[in-house]
Each structure stands twice: as structure tokens, then as C-alpha cells.
């Protein structure tokens, strides 16, 4: 086992990007993502990473530059948060439509207003339908590992789509914790050089970003959707290969002590580890409660989720964003849809928690499980409930 190194998670991600030997980075600083690209700019300036670091005047420009460098065949990386991601929105749609394997870290942060620099998932939920693959990390080690795997997934010729690695702002990005790094040789064995399928080249001209007249637009979107859905198989392959090479296992849907559980708590991101502590407490008291976590958010892992529902009566889904006036939290709505047609589908309780940096404590998780079980017993009809609101 490699020696554990105490380092800030943001810097560990920068090291992963360096090990991936990216060719181009375009970014604009925004809290809480800033340390990642700040460190990358140092690595480039110090000659430790041979890449073009392209400072820009906005996130809209950052993602536009990423489109250009990726189209030219460069392995391309960026990182952002919150308002920065929102400002990229227009270009975010273009990247997957052009089949450009850009890798982006999103240090998840609330979207204003009120103005908030703190963590929740409203930024990623706002770009849910842009066609990017999206994965979530629960700790620094996963952020490091997923950052490396992201390039391999995105650049696979069966995929060629952009991917966001989501890490909770501050609660992951600014924490110093232990990481096991990989050496350059190991990474090189895992992650081959990027070979574009098509690239902009004056000697062999191609057109990218052309008009889609009504006669072909639907077909173009069908192709894009098929390839995104198909990417789940490649995600699983890359997870398996990484596990074999380095001994750290990843799944698109992860569980914790879910054997025989009648109630499952569902989380995404760094609150999952705190939730495990809550599960241990409840299991110690003899409750049949487990945890299920979505690692892959897009494409949504429908079958993998359904496979975990055997014997489950109640599912308590924690969302960290509000779909204002919607039918449930963004994750809970998807989960209800995914489980609607299965036999003996569990009761899905939708809770909104941890907005704008509010902690979700071990006691909060225990309270949520109890409340979900009561709601299930009473078959309470509800859309979503916001918990921990001070009145």
C-alpha cells in the first residue's frame, strides 16, 4: 500500500490532472474551486506540467476555449463552481454535441441568491440536462481516483463525451486529509495517450458545429442520447479496470450495510460518509437500515438502482438542491421515475437538506430515516420536505 499523504483535496485533484498529463487548461478562478487551478498554474509555470494554461476573462470563455483546444485534439481540463458553471451553460450544451471529451471538476456550491459561497448541489442540478457524464466523489481519495478515471471514460471512442467530477465545495475541496497517490508509470499504464477520433487540422479540414436543419436535428440528438446512455457500460469497465490495477473498487451505485435492509437512506457526495456513521448507529440498535449512494448521476443508472431495491420498503432520498415547485428533489424525482414501474416499488420520501453550507449531522440522518418510515406507514402523499428549517 502506498504511503498516505496529508494534502488538501483540491491539490490532490491538481496532482491527478498533472499525472493525466493534460495538454490544455482554461479556467477562471471562483471559490471554492480556485485552489485546483491555482495549483495547476503553478505546476505549469514551474515546468512540472507541459501544458497550455490559458487564463480567460470569464467561465463562458473558459468553456469556449476548452471547446477549441479539445476540438484541436488536446487533452483538456477545467474546473469551476456555482455561478461560474451557470455562466458556462450555453457552451456546456455544445461540448457533448461536438463529442469533445473535456474533463471538468465542479466544486459544488450553491447558486445565488442569497449570495452563498457554501456547498450544495444546486449548480450541478442546473446543468443536469446538458449531456455531460456526471460522477460524484465522497472523499479526497475518490476525487483523486475519479479525476484520473474521468479522462479514460471521456476519451474512450465509444464515448467521446465530456464528464464532470463533482466534489462538495469546502467540505471536500478545502479539507486536508490522507490520500494515496499513484506514480506516473502506474498512471501511464492505466491512461493511454488521448487519440482523437476527429480533430481540427488545417491539413485535413473537417467541419464542427454545423447547422442542424429540421431534417437531421432529431437524428443528431438521438445519436447523442444513445452514446450518453451507452457510456454507462464504459464507466463500469473503467471502474473495474481501475479496481484491478490499484485495488480501489468503484460502482455506479454503491451500498453500505444494505443487506436485509427494509429502509434505505440515499445520498450523493461527501455527506455519504457521515451517513455511514448514522447507519452504524441505527444498525447497532437493531434497525434494518442501510445506505445507497449514487456515484453516477448522468447517465442515470436505472438498472443498477432497481437491482438494489429487493425487499426495500422505504427509500429516504436526500437532495441538496431544490427543484422549485417540482414534484420532488431532483434526485428523488429521478428515483421515483426509475422505480415507478417495478413490482413492489418502495415508498420514496424526498427530503431537501444541506443547502448553502448547512451541515447534515448524524442525528439529522437518523431523524430523516424515522420520519421516512412514519410517512411510508401512513402512505403520506407528499412532493418533498425541507428539513432542519428554523422557524
Amino acid at each position: 500500500m502506498a504511503k498516505r499523504v496529508g494534502i488538501e483535496v483540491s491539490l490532490a485533484i491538481s496532482e491527478a490532472v498533472k499525472l493525466a498529463n493534460v495538454d490544455a487548461i482554461a479556467a477562471y478562478p471562483i471559490t471554492p474551486q480556485t485552489h485546483i487551478v491555482e495549483h495547476l498554474s503553478e505546476l505549469v509555470a514551474d515546468g512540472e506540467l507541459d501544458a497550455a494554461f490559458i487564463p480567460v476573462e470569464s467561465e463562458h470563455s473558459a468553456m469556449s476555449v476548452c471547446a477549441g483546444t479539445s476540438a484541436a485534439g488536446a487533452r483538456t481540463y477545467t474546473a469551476t463552481s456555482s455561478q461560474g458553471l451557470a455562466l458556462m451553460n450555453e457552451i456546456l450544451y455544445i461540448i457533448p454535441a461536438l463529442r469533445l471529451p473535456v474533463v471538468m471538476t465542479i466544486a459544488n456550491r450553491a447558486i445565488s441568491g442569497p449570495i452563498s459561497i457554501w456547498n450544495d448541489h444546486s449548480d450541478i442540478m442546473g446543468v443536469r440536462d446538458t449531456g455531460w457524464i456526471a460522477v460524484f466523489a465522497e472523499n479526497g481519495q475518490e476525487a483523486f481516483d475519479l479525476s484520473l478515471m474521468a479522462f479514460k471514460i471521456a476519451e474512450d471512442h465509444r464515448v467521446l463525451l465530456p464528464i464532470s467530477v463533482n466534489i462538495d465545495g469546502f467540505t471536500l475541496s478545502h479539507v486536508i486529509e490522507p490520500h494515496e497517490f499513484l506514480g506516473q508509470e502506474e498512471v501511464d499504464k492505466f491512461l493511454p495517450e488521448y487519440k482523437p477520433a476527429v480533430q481540427l487540422n488545417p491539413d485535413a479540414p473537417v467541419s464542427m458545429g454545423t447547422v442542424g436543419i429540421p431534417e437531421i436535428f432529431t437524428e443528431a440528438k438521438k445519436c447523442q442520447d444513445e452514446v450518453l446512455k451507452g457510456s454507462e457500460a464504459v464507466v463500469k469497465e473503467v471502474f473495474a479496470e481501475f479496481g484491478e490495477m490499484f485495488g480501489r473498487e468503484y460502482k455506479v451505485v454503491e451500498t453500505y450495510r444494505s443487506e436485509g435492509a427494509e429502509t434505505l437512506l440515499m445520498t450523493m457526495g461527501s455527506v455519504s460518509e457521515t451517513a455511514m456513521e448514522a447507519i452504524d448507529k441505527m444498525r447497532d440498535e437493531g434497525k434494518a437500515v442501510g445506505l445507497i449512494r449514487l456515484r453516477l448521476w448522468r447517465p442515470f443508472p436505472v438498472e443498477a438502482l432497481r437491482a438494489e431495491m429487493v425487499g426495500v420498503k422505504t427509500l429516504a432520498v436526500i437532495d441538496r438542491a431544490v427543484s422549485f415547485g417540482g414534484t420532488g428533489g431532483p434526485v428523488a424525482s429521478e428515483v421515483r421515475s426509475a422505480l415507478y414501474s417495478i413490482d413492489q416499488a418502495p415508498y420514496v420520501a424526498s427530503f431537501i437538506a444541506g443547502l448553502g453550507g448547512r451541515d447534515i449531522t448524524i442525528d439529522d440522518f437518523i431523524m430523516v430515516v424515522g420520519q421516512a418510515e412514519r410517512m411510508a406507514a401512513e402512505k403520506e402523499i407528499h412532493q418533498y420536505k425541507m428539513i432542519g428549517v428554523r422557524e
Binding site: 498516505r4 499523504v5 496529508g6 494534502i7 488538501e8 471554492p32 459561497i117 457554501w118 469546502f170 467540505t171 471536500l172 478545502h174 479539507v175 486536508i176 486529509e177 490522507p178 461527501s270 455527506v271 460518509e273 457521515t274 455511514m276 456513521e277 453550507g357 451541515d359 447534515i360 449531522t361 448524524i362
Partner: protein
């Protein structure tokens, strides 16, 4: 698991002291976290930082609500912040103050174990600056022996402070030697 909360003022290096503690513990083969309170921090305003040190993998990622150890870098926060908030009854309060343990108990009514060192005086003599974060690390590891050995802080301090590392290490060692501890 030992949970730590650091009180200081913006610019005094409270976050750095939590970080040094965590890195030293991880170098020792333990598990640790350090993180700031993520507030709108301003130079001079009261700020807090957190650390956790454990023999096992740490999963709880919330703020530290019931610390085992509270470190006070700046005596002036004692009158404006309840530094004892959430401190476990068998916890340890480590305070930078020119006042003695008895005087501190008398003035603030502290009930838990207490460690005191005049870190500002040491920092002024060794660093020429009233920055007490590294000094108070020496006091902390003296007061709470189960955290980490004092020697384990040398490498992280060298990595962080470069040419002024030697002076910070000396300040830390002096605080380690001069800290007065009153166990309840």
C-alpha cells in the same frame, strides 16, 4: 478520535495550525482531517478552524460540535466568544495567555482541564511577531499527549515555513517546555 477546534483571529494562522496538526498525524500513520470554518473571514475578526485525529478512517464530515480539545490562539477572543461551547467535560482547553491557570479559572470560570502558555511572549521573542499558531501547537501536543509527538510537527513546519521554519520550530519547542497544565 480526538476532535479539535481552534479559535483565533483572521490572519493569526488558526487554519494553518489545524493543517499542521493533521499533516503531522497523517505522517505518523494516523488518519486526520483539517478544515477551516468556511466563513466570510476577515483579518482581525474571530475565526475558527477544525481538526480530527484518529487511529481509524474518519467519516464524519460535519463541523466539530463537541470538541475534545479547544485551542485559543488569542486571549482577546476569550471575552467575546464562548470558547467552552460544546467542549466535552473531560476535554482540554489550551489557552494563550499571560495569566496563570488559577487566574484564568477565576476570571472565566473554566471547569475543564486547562493548559496555559504565554504564546504571544514566546512568539514575540522567537519570531518578532505576535503570530501564535505554531507556538500554540507546542502547547497543544504537550497538553494532549495522545495527539501526536512534538517531533512529528517538525517536518510539516519545515515544509510550510521554509526559511522561517527554524524560528517557528524553536517557538513551538519553547511552548512545549513552558506550558502549565492543570488536569481536572
Amino acid at each position: 478520535m480526538i476532535e479539535v477546534r481552534v479559535h483565533g483571529r483572521g490572519g493569526q494562522g488558526g487554519v494553518t495550525s489545524a493543517e499542521m496538526l493533521a499533516i503531522a498525524a497523517i505522517n505518523e500513520g494516523k488518519f486526520a482531517q483539517a478544515f477551516p470554518s468556511f466563513g466570510p473571514e476577515r483579518r482581525g475578526a474571530p475565526v475558527i478552524a477544525f481538526a480530527r485525529v484518529s487511529e481509524e478512517k474518519i467519516r464524519n464530515r460535519t463541523k466539530v460540535y463537541t470538541p475534545d480539545v479547544v485551542i485559543v490562539l488569542d486571549p482577546s477572543v476569550l471575552s467575546i466568544v464562548n470558547v467552552e461551547e460544546g467542549l466535552k467535560s473531560d476535554g482540554m482547553l489550551v489557552i494563550n495567555s499571560a495569566k496563570s491557570v488559577a487566574e484564568l479559572r477565576n476570571e472565566y470560570g473554566f471547569k475543564t482541564s486547562l493548559a496555559q502558555v504565554d504564546a504571544t511572549h514566546i512568539a514575540m521573542e522567537e519570531l518578532g511577531l505576535p503570530i501564535t499558531n505554531t507556538t500554540m501547537l507546542g502547547a497543544t501536543v504537550k497538553a494532549v499527549q495522545s495527539l501526536i509527538p512534538v517531533e512529528s510537527l517538525v517536518a510539516p513546519l519545515e515544509a510550510r515555513f521554509g526559511r522561517i521554519a527554524a524560528r517557528n520550530i524553536k517557538a513551538m519547542q519553547r511552548a512545549y517546555d513552558e506550558t502549565e497544565i492543570d488536569i481536572i
